[in-house]
């Protein structure tokens, strides 16, 4: 944790508190709560306001389009809308006071991170698997995928994120044989799934979330409002099967119970989601995204293990083992089934 990170957390907390605290009232607020603190997303809450600092290397124009998407009336009831007005220029919050930036003699000041503001929602309870909203998540995805893009949007960043995860693993474990099955699985993927070329045109025009997992759902208004998708940082147009790929990967690797997977898949199909055919075998469409997300998950797991100097846990190991099997069954051959 660097000083920079800590000051971002403080600044976000100050900003959220300033907006949630009634003017002139005596302060009896709880201290700001850090919901996430990563280089690609620092999220701090005060009262009913959530402030998020996005990645320092964000493409500001693309991010503004994604935030505008979350605010668009077409996405009401699907994406959590921001509190910031769409199109507003995104700048880092002012430091809360005192010299927080390095002296001129120190290292160069870090790039400012764009900041957005959101209403508080109630997340999925990680201690209650029975209550996980698999079907609700699937219906939200189906509705998202069925929505015509309201304006021009950047490409969904799923494949780019997978490529970034693999690069991070390689940098963290140079020459380590542990990366070999993951790299073999990666090399067996088609170029579009590695983010090297655009997705095939017939499947690339759908609105996608780009980074679906259970941390991307909240009830708003908290605690009993309807479920909505959050975090549009990777959203854009692309192959909608990518959004089903992570649950599919968890299921294929034995991490997600079949009843949860089929609840998700059946709800998606019942809601008319376009990523898979309405009935029959969904795997010709799911196969490549599920492979790519398996590789991404295994790569991030190995990178984290290297950073934390530990061995992969049981779940991480399942994903790594899947990579080895993925490498022996190239998707080009599986595609025979799809034709």
């Amino acid at each position: 944790m660097t000083t920079t990170q800590t000051s971002v957390v403080q600044d976000l907390g100050t900003l959220a508190h300033r907006l949630s605290h009634p003017a002139g009232a005596r302060c009896v607020c709880e201290p700001p709560q850090v919901l996430a603190d990563r280089p690609d997303g620092t999220v701090v809450r005060s009262g009913a306001i959530v402030a998020k600092a996005h990645a320092a290397d964000s493409d500001h124009e693309a991010l503004a389009a994604r935030i505008a998407l979350a605010a668009a009336p077409q996405l009401t009831g699907i994406l959590l809308p921001p509190l910031t007005a769409p199109g507003r220029s995104l700048t880092a919050p002012e430091p809360s006071g005192g010299p927080q930036h390095p002296e001129p003699s120190g290292p160069p000041a870090p790039a400012p991170r764009p900041v957005t503001l959101w209403p508080l929602g109630a997340p999925v309870d990680p201690t209650d698997p029975e209550a996980a909203p698999w079907a609700e998540a699937a219906v939200l995805l189906a509705r998202l995928h069925r929505t015509e893009p309201p304006f021009r949007l950047p490409a969904m960043r799923g494949p780019a994120k997978a490529a970034r995860a693999v690069a991070r693993m390689r940098a963290a474990l140079p020459g380590d044989p542990a990366v070999l099955p993951v790299l073999a699985g990666w090399r067996a993927l088609p170029a579009w799934a590695r983010g090297e070329v655009p997705a095939p045109a017939r499947r690339s025009g759908f609105l996608c979330h780009g980074d679906l997992h259970l941390g991307q759902l909240v009830r708003h208004p908290a605690p009993d409002g309807p479920w909505l998708l959050i975090d549009v940082d990777d959203a854009g147009t692309g192959d909608p099967a990518w959004d089903l790929g992570r649950p599919a990967a968890w299921y294929a690797s034995g991490l997600l119970a079949p009843e949860d997977w089929f609840a998700f898949l059946d709800a998606y199909r019942s809601a008319g989601g376009p990523a898979v055919p309405a009935d029959g075998d969904p795997w010709p469409e799911l196969d490549v995204p599920a492979r790519a997300l398996t590789v991404q998950t295994a790569a991030l797991a190995l990178a984290k293990c290297a950073a934390e100097q530990r061995r992969p846990d049981e779940h991480e190991q399942l994903m790594i083992e899947s990579c080895a099997r993925i490498a022996t069954l190239p998707p080009e051959l599986a595609a025979d089934h799809a034709s």
């Binding site: 997992h213 034995g254 079949p258 075998d281 051959l333």
Partner: protein
């Protein structure tokens, strides 16, 4: 690309009703992965029982016929998914909440 363990010619993969089989382009031998023989046997018994009423599906998900999972899925998928019940609690880990 897989090589035939017997004659070392190239093996081609075919997907038949969700079952992935590799056939050697030289000696025409067939290679089955873990669980695939069981899958084929199950398909065959479903086929032969189609004249009388079909047996109840092993899982309560009629939308998912033979292809329950991809060929590269975990070996548990060779069975009927019965291994999962007691894994549900531990399967609900941190991983399902992160990128």
């Amino acid at each position: 690309m897989m090589q035939c363990p017997k004659c070392h010619a190239q093996m081609n993969t075919y997907n038949r009703n969700g079952v992935q089989i590799e056939q050697c382009s030289g000696c025409r031998g067939i290679f089955l992965d873990y669980g695939e023989l069981e899958s084929l046997t199950r398909l065959e018994s479903q086929w032969s029982q189609q004249a009388p009423p079909a047996p109840p599906a092993p899982q309560a998900y009629p939308a998912a016929p033979a292809a329950h999972a991809p060929a590269w899925g975990a070996p548990q998928h060779g069975g009927h998914g019965g291994h999962y019940g007691h894994h549900r609690q531990k399967g609900f880990g941190r991983m399902l909440f992160s990128s």
